[in-house]
């Protein structure tokens, strides 16, 4: 056949594109298409938290907790100077029943709710002024009385709940509630959300309460330039 010699005598230049294409395909497949692994790293204490792109995270909650608890303990410190002292002259620790964190913000807290509880609980427990009652005791008290956390401010409910804890060796001086709220301002494709954490400390003996708050404002944008457009530092001079 006439085509036979042509097949084998075909100039290399004509087959080269095919060979190159096939080679390139394989190389691209191997080099670009390899699936990567997932990696993790430890974040040093002085490194900033990641800033959540769609909702609040550590960058919002950690400073909120630190500030509100510090304010509350500071107020308690001042009050304790005029309060009861032990025979050794030390201020007597008051027991706090941390009832829980209430989320009234626009966002689902997800796994952060228990984290917030534990952080507040631990910081209170470390203070000289207060002694936090174990969460397990609080949960057991709620289970036994079948009272809703938000119904404990009704005097009868409060007495019942406190008497159950007192029976178990945990007298309650204060009830503590943490409430997270948010306020959202929309502007085209950007929005600003103000997060407010409020701690309410209620004296179970007198019914008096103190309240401390801290807030963090955060902007959300659909593009990287959104921040520059909406929070332009030069705008403040106008």
């Amino acid at each position: 056949m006439a085509t036979s010699p042509m097949l084998f005598k075909r100039p290399f230049g004509k087959t080269q594109p095919l060979v190159l294409c096939a080679g390139a395909l394989v190389l691209v497949g191997v080099a670009v298409g390899c699936r990567g692994y997932q990696y993790g790293h430890l974040i040093k204490n002085d490194q900033p938290d990641l800033v959540g792109s769609h909702s609040a995270g550590a960058e919002v909650f950690n400073p909120l907790i630190d500030e509100t608890v510090a304010k509350m303990l500071g107020t308690a410190e001042v009050a304790s100077q005029h309060g009861l002292v032990s025979p050794e002259g030390m201020p007597i620790q008051r027991s706090v029943c941390f009832v829980g964190v209430e989320n009234k913000s626009a966002e689902e807290l997800g796994d952060f709710k228990d984290q917030i509880y534990q952080q507040i609980d631990t910081q209170i427990n470390r203070s000289q002024a207060f002694r936090a009652i174990s969460r397990r005791m609080v949960d057991a008290g709620l289970q036994e009385t079948r009272l809703r956390p938000d119904s404990l401010l009704v005097p009868d409910n409060m007495n019942l709940f406190c008497s159950v804890l007192q029976r178990d060796g945990q007298p309650v001086d204060y009830l503590l509630y943490a409430t997270l709220t948010s306020g959202t301002t929309e502007r085209n494709k950007s929005s600003q959300r103000d997060y407010l954490l409020t701690l309410e400390l209620i004296d179970t003996h007198t019914g008096a309460y103190t309240k401390e708050q801290a807030s963090v404002r955060k902007g959300y944008h659909s593009s990287y330039l959104g921040k520059a457009v909406n929070y332009n530092p030069f705008k403040a001079w106008k």
């Binding site: 085509t3 087959t15 497949g29």
Partner: protein, 448 residues
């Protein structure tokens, strides 16, 4: 034989070898038909053995779906821990495989989509996390809440991806399975101190199931009431009913959307363009068997009490999310056909196979090459069609439950009995699978 004839023969042989190597012996659905039938006939040990043999071939591209079926067998056999472990492994593997592999994509364009490592359909990724929740609840439940959050997060993630690929129109198809927020509500409520979270979760479920009557009671309870009266606990009965969604191969006409996408794919690869019409192409389609009965009637200590009610329609979930990507699947099949035809023409041209016999042989090989292609029917085949639930508040102590299929408000099957121990202020979970009129394996109780 002339030199050209010899060359064509050699090339033909190479093509035949290539085709043989590239095509599977049978489709996924055929391969698993027998063990799945064993499962449905309640021969769990035999089914497990057969699936186990298939899963040992780790390099098989469908090993993960075989393992999903194994996890299902383990769950209904009363081994939720083994089921959870297996599902966790698959979840992590699929998360890794979600990244694109250009090599696999290129190979799949020469063979079929089954050449790609299977990273699960979107509905399977969500349901995998739902079953992780259920299998955790059937033990100590320590990770159940995390799994519900993972399901919600995964839905958000898939919605974002779907939106960027196919636009806002598909968002309606990508909705969280209602069981996920509902389970979160159940778990937050039983903590007795997080009624606000439970309310949010039940409200989110109500948005997905506006007609569900039990949600009205749930929302009212967590808004103003308590989990249960003193001295009482709650039994949550979860029933999996019917044979769930699976993929089957169908011959479909190319749609205009698919032709458009295919044209984009082909134009990237070469100078060829997609013809305006094509013979039908093989694509997978989601199908489910009809429900064997409506709901499950529950008798408590012999007294007819209530029935389970639909919580998640797995068929609808699978159908909606799969339809969103149907044009893409079709486009790939079209592009593949064009590329294969193009490759045969190029081979003919390169080999100068102008003689009628050589040309016919090459055409025949091209047809054989196309014929080896089959639709990707890999799927989690042992899913139920629907998950239903019933919440019962009962006094603390041991109770006997009879679960019986109900059609048109009348019992129509043999009841299955189980014993539950109700604890004051706690939840007890019951889970069973009725693909047909009888349950498979055992009805699981986390607190028997």
């Amino acid at each position: 034989m002339s030199a050209t004839g010899g060359s064509v023969a050699a090339c033909s042989l190479a093509l035949i070898l290539g085709i043989t190597a590239s095509c599977g012996c049978s489709t996924h659905s055929h391969r698993l038909a027998q063990p799945r039938q064993l499962f449905y006939s309640n021969q769990l040990d035999q089914a497990h053995e057969q699936f186990d043999k298939l899963s040992e071939k780790k390099r098989r591209s469908d090993s993960s779906v075989v393992e999903l079926d194994l996890a299902m067998i383990e769950l209904v056999s009363g081994q939720p821990r083994a089921c959870e472990q297996r599902l966790r492994d698959i979840r992590d593997r699929w998360d890794h495989l979600e990244q694109d592999s250009a090599l696999e994509s290129a190979t799949s364009m020469l063979t079929d989509d089954q050449r790609k490592a299977y990273s699960g359909e979107d509905y399977e990724k969500l349901l995998l996390r739902v079953f992780l929740t259920l299998s955790s609840l059937m033990q100590d439940g320590v990770d159940a809440e995390s799994y519900t959050l993972q399901t919600i997060d995964k839905t958000d993630d898939l919605r974002e991806k779907a939106k960027s690929k196919w636009g806002d129109g598909v968002l309606e198809s990508y909705r969280v399975p209602p069981i996920a927020p509902y389970m979160r509500g159940v778990l937050r409520e039983v903590s007795l101190s997080n009624y606000d979270d439970a309310l949010r979760a039940y409200q989110a479920t109500e948005e997905l199931l506006p007609a569900a009557p039990f949600l009205v009671a749930d929302i009212e309870r967590v808004s103003h009431g308590v989990h249960s009266s003193p001295g009482h606990g709650v039994v949550d009965v979860f029933s999996m009913i019917g044979r769930g969604p699976y993929k089957t191969e169908v011959a479909a006409q190319a749609t205009s959307d698919a032709l458009l996408i295919a044209d984009r794919i082909v134009s990237v690869i070469g100078q060829y363009s997609v013809p305006p019409t094509l013979a039908p192409i093989k694509v997978p389609e989601i199908v489910s068997s009809p429900m064997p009965f409506d709901v499950l009637g529950v008798r408590v200590n012999g007294v007819p009490t209530s029935t389970t009610l639909p919580l998640t329609d797995l068929h609808a979930l699978a159908h909606q999310t799969f339809n969103a990507k149907r044009s893409d699947i079709m486009a790939r099949a079209i592009a593949r056909r064009v590329i294969k035809k193009g490759a045969v023409y190029v081979a003919k041209d390169q080999l100068n196979a102008s003689a009628p016999i050589a040309s016919l042989a090459m055409d025949g090989l091209g047809v054989a090459w196309e014929a080896t292609e089959s639709a990707d029917t890999r799927c989690w085949g042992l899913l139920p069609r629907e998950i239903q639930m019933l919440r019962l508040e009962l006094p603390s102590g041991t109770h006997s439950l009879d679960l019986e299929p109900v059609v048109n408000e009348r019992p129509c099957g043999r009841p299955t009995q189980c014993t539950v121990r109700v604890e004051d202020g706690r939840n007890t979970y019951v889970l069973g699978y009725w693909p047909d009129m009888q349950p498979i394996g055992q009805v699981l109780v986390n607190n028997p």
